[in-house]
């Protein structure tokens, strides 16, 4: 049992062993390996409303909007993992309709042009939006992954999370850079 866990850990940690990429390809691959781990961690530290799932053991559906930067990495990282008894299901989205089925929506940097549309579309729905586009959080996304000094950081828009009826653990917030939607202030003021 313990051995199994150790192996699992090794597999999990293996990608994180190299934060700094040596070659271009391997660098990209390493970055996404970390990002895949982050996504798993976010799933751990975010609480969805109960009605977001059909059943108690319904899987957490991760939708990738736009061009998939992970390749097989995300699938591999999440394979066999469970959070609160739920497995993961990764979907490459074709249409906007499929968005509704997601619990986590990864917005690829290829979708930078349709960003507002996508955010607007999922607004009010219990979907954790994760992006890697500068200003994603400020523009209404919930978590934005930022690469700084070859290190992955993340920004959290607490207001957006509240709107999406998601509870983000204070422990996650303690590590995050909190950003605010500039328009949100104005709305509140109104």
């Amino acid at each position: 049992m313990r051995l199994l866990r150790l192996i699992t850990l090794a597999i999990m940690i293996l990608p994180s062993s190299g934060f700094e990429a040596h070659g271009q390809d391997s660098s990209i691959s390493a970055e996404y390996l970390i990002k895949a781990g982050f996504i798993y961690n976010f799933a751990n530290l975010v609480q969805w409303p109960t009605n977001a799932f059909a059943q108690l053991d319904s899987p957490i559906v991760i939708g990738i909007l736009g061009e998939d930067p992970f390749g097989t990495v995300l699938d591999r990282v999440l394979a066999g993992k469970r959070v609160n008894g739920r497995a993961f299901l990764v979907k490459r989205l074709k249409s906007a309709v499929d968005l509704k089925e997601c619990h986590i929506l990864f917005v690829s940097s290829s979708e930078i042009a349709h960003l507002a549309e996508a955010i607007h579309f999922v607004k009010g729905m219990p979907i954790l939006t994760i992006g890697e586009i500068p200003g994603f959080a400020k523009r209404g996304g919930i978590i934005n992954l930022v690469l700084e000094d070859n290190k992955v950081h993340f920004e959290v828009n607490v207001e957006a999370a509240k709107e999406a009826d998601l509870t983000i653990s204070s422990r996650l917030l303690a590590l995050a850079r909190i950003v605010q939607d500039p328009g949100a202030d104005g709305k509140k003021a109104q």
Partner: protein, 693 residues
């Protein structure tokens, strides 16, 4: 000073303090231990909780590999004073984030993943291992190390508080017990003081004061009671002692008085004994001295009388008879005195021999014949058939009978005497009973009391009327008493008297018996007439008077008589002449009689000649021991000498002629025979046979 010998006051204080301190220490220690144990438990829980919190808080940081965030979380422990190290390990065992209070390079700090979960105490450190998980997924391990500063500080503080507390309470315990111990030690000390006073001053009037009614109180009561008892006894003892002293003094005086009296008595006794001895010695000496001249007086008066009779000078004969009679009386008196003194001096000796009773009586009767006839009395002798021989000192028996019979003669006028002898058995012994009866004046009951006392005749007038020394019965009584024989008397005044003497038929030498010589007292009277030629008799004596008397006397008996004055001459003559008999004196100049006797008996040619000792020395035992045939003491009883010589002549005749049996005329009870015998003995004209041998 050892603990046991401390004063009771110190002991009490010590005990109180020790007890209270012990209780206090024990309770404090248990409280301290309990507190420290529970506090440690609390610390452990605290640290575990902290580990949980930190683990929880650092889980996200671990998950996102956010090292600064994790370090920041650990740094929050800075507030907590006693955590010295906190380390987060990644699942692969690598250190992810750390926090050290002081020095990072602590050598003791080498944790590894293999260590157990939970807490443990390592030295003076408390270590906690805690898994960091996120939603059940293990992200790493948290290690916390505490130096338990709180605990040790607390322990130190508590210990010092306890110490101070014990000191203070000890001080108070000392104060309190010092005050309170007086309740117990006070009365005891008082008791001790009292006791010391009593024993030092011997003053038993002191009393201890009782303070409380506890055990010590009863002890003091007991002590006081004992003191009163001792006081009483002391007083009584002192009184008794005084009395004892007085009594002792009295006793001592009494004892010294008595001692004085005893010494006086002893002195008086010594004086008396000395006087008595002197008297006896004097009497004995005087008797001997008196007898030597008497010897000459009697002997010469007898010879003169015979010569006078031959020349028919009748008046001279009567005068000479008076001289002879007076001399013989004097001799009897002297002999009696001598006997008495010998008995008193304890010098009486015994010479046992077996003899015919009839012969012995015949001798006595013969001797007394003149006296019997003097007052016209008649004598009857009766011997019982069973009376034959007896074994005793013939001299003593003869003397007793002689005394009794002569007494009877003396006090009887125109009367009758009788001598009866019979035999009886008492207590396994044969006793001969001699009874001498007379019809004389008798003895009154009062006179009987003094009958056997010396010089005591029944009446002083008797001495004048009847004469006599008054010693006869006394000697008889003394002698009978000495031999444990018995003598008794029955008498009535005017009605005659009967004296009875019991003598054992076979006497033994129980008392001082000198060498016993077998006497042969075969009857010899009838043979006295046998004459066989003239034999020679040798007389050895240095006294010229004796030599002359002996030669005259023996010449009359048809002997040739040779006399010599010294022992040497006697021996020489004896060898030449070979006499049939020798008479020998003891006290002679140059060669004395004992040595002459020894030489005679040592000479084989002379040893068979019988030797008759004729001497003044009274030591017949020595004479018989040296071989003497007979022993006569001067003055010589001529009748006895004649009888002895006859005896030896008969023996010699028998041996010469070869006839064993010599006809012997036994003394019969026939009065006719007795008359013949009496006549025969009268021929020797010896009236007084006083047993001097």
């Amino acid at each position: 000073m050892s603990l046991q010998n401390l004063s009771i006051r110190r002991k009490l204080i010590l005990i109180t303090m020790l007890t209270s301190s012990m209780a206090l220490l024990l309770s404090s220690a248990s409280f301290l231990i309990y507190d420290l144990v529970s506090f440690r438990h609390l610390l452990t829980q605290d640290l575990t909780t902290q580990a949980e919190i930190i683990g929880y808080n650092s889980a996200a940081a671990m998950a996102f590999k956010d090292e600064p965030a994790a370090t920041a979380t650990l740094s929050a422990l800075m507030v907590k004073g006693d955590v010295v190290a906190a380390v987060l390990y990644s699942p692969d065992g690598k250190m992810f984030a750390e926090y050290f209070r002081n020095d990072k390079t602590l050598p003791a700090f080498v944790p590894s993943r293999s260590q157990e979960k939970g807490y443990r105490f390592e030295g003076r450190y408390l270590e906690v291992w805690h898994d960091v998980t996120l939603n059940g997924e293990l992200l790493g391990t948290l290690f916390l190390q505490s130096d338990m500063r709180q605990w040790s500080t607390r322990a130190k503080r508590y210990a010092s508080i306890c110490f101070v507390f014990v000191l203070i309470s000890g001080f108070f315990a000392f104060l309190v017990s010092s005050k309170l111990q007086k309740v117990i030690s006070g009365p005891i000390m008082h008791l001790e003081d009292t006791m010391r006073t009593v024993s030092a001053n011997k003053n038993y009037e002191v009393r201890a004061v009782k303070s409380y009614a506890d055990e010590i109180g009863s002890l003091i009561d007991g002590f006081n009671t004992m003191l009163s008892d001792i006081q009483q006894r002391d007083t009584a003892l002192r009184g008794a002692n005084d009395e004892l002293k007085t009594r002792t003094q009295e006793l001592e005086e009494e004892i010294s008085h008595r001692k004085q009296a005893q010494e006086d008595l002893l002195k008086a006794k010594d004086v008396a004994e000395e006087a008595s001895r002197a008297k006896s010695t004097f009497l004995a000496n005087m008797s001997h001295e008196l007898r030597t001249p008497l010897n000459a007086i009697i002997g010469y008066s007898e010879m003169l009388e015979e010569e006078a009779q031959d020349s028919a000078a009748l008046e001279t004969v009567q005068d000479l008879q008076k001289i002879k009679s007076a001399g013989k009386h004097l001799l009897a008196l002297i002999n009696d005195v001598l006997d008495l003194s010998k008995i008193e001096a304890g010098k009486m000796s015994l010479h046992l021999e077996t003899f015919e009773v009839s012969g012995m009586i015949e001798e006595v009767v013969t001797t007394l014949q003149p006296a019997i006839g003097k007052n016209s009395n008649t004598l009857r002798v009766r011997l019982a058939d069973e009376v034959g021989t007896m074994r005793a000192d013939i001299t003593k028996v003869r003397q007793i009978l002689f005394n009794l019979l002569s007494n009877a003669c003396k006090f009887t006028d125109h009367g009758r005497f009788s001598v009866d002898v019979d035999q009886s058995t008492e207590a396994g012994l044969d006793w001969l009973r001699f009874r001498v009866t007379d019809t004389g004046i008798g003895i009154s009951a009062k006179q009987k009391e003094n009958l056997f006392q010396e010089f005591a005749q029944a009446d002083t007038s008797i001495a004048r009327k009847y004469g006599g020394t008054g010693l006869g019965l006394a000697i008889t009584h003394r002698f009978v008493h000495l031999m444990k024989w018995r003598i008794g008397v029955e008498s009535q005044l005017g009605g005659g008297s009967t004296f009875t003497v019991h003598v054992p038929a076979q006497a033994t030498l129980e008392r001082v018996g000198p060498i016993q010589a077998e006497g042969n007292s075969e009857a010899f009277d009838a043979m006295s007439q046998i004459k066989i030629g003239r034999d020679t008799i040798l007389v050895i004596d240095d006294d010229a008077a004796v030599r002359e008397l002996m030669s005259r006397f023996l010449g009359k008996l048809d002997f040739n008589v040779l006399t010599v004055a010294s022992g040497e001459e006697g021996l020489r003559l004896a060898k030449q002449v070979r006499p049939v008999l020798i008479t020998l004196d003891v006290v002679m100049p140059a060669c004395d009689g004992w040595s002459v006797l020894s030489k005679l008996k040592a000479d084989s040619e002379l040893s068979k000649i019988p030797v008759i000792m004729v001497t003044i020395v009274d030591n017949e035992a020595r004479g018989f021991a040296l071989g003497a045939s007979n022993y006569l003491i001067k003055p010589v009883d001529r009748e006895r000498l004649a009888v002895l010589i006859e005896k030896h002549r008969i023996t010699r005749f028998a041996s010469i002629t070869g006839t064993n049996a010599v006809p012997v005329s036994r003394l019969s009870h026939d009065p006719k025979h007795r008359e013949v015998d009496a006549e025969a003995t009268e021929r020797f004209n010896v009236e007084n046979l006083t047993s001097r041998r």
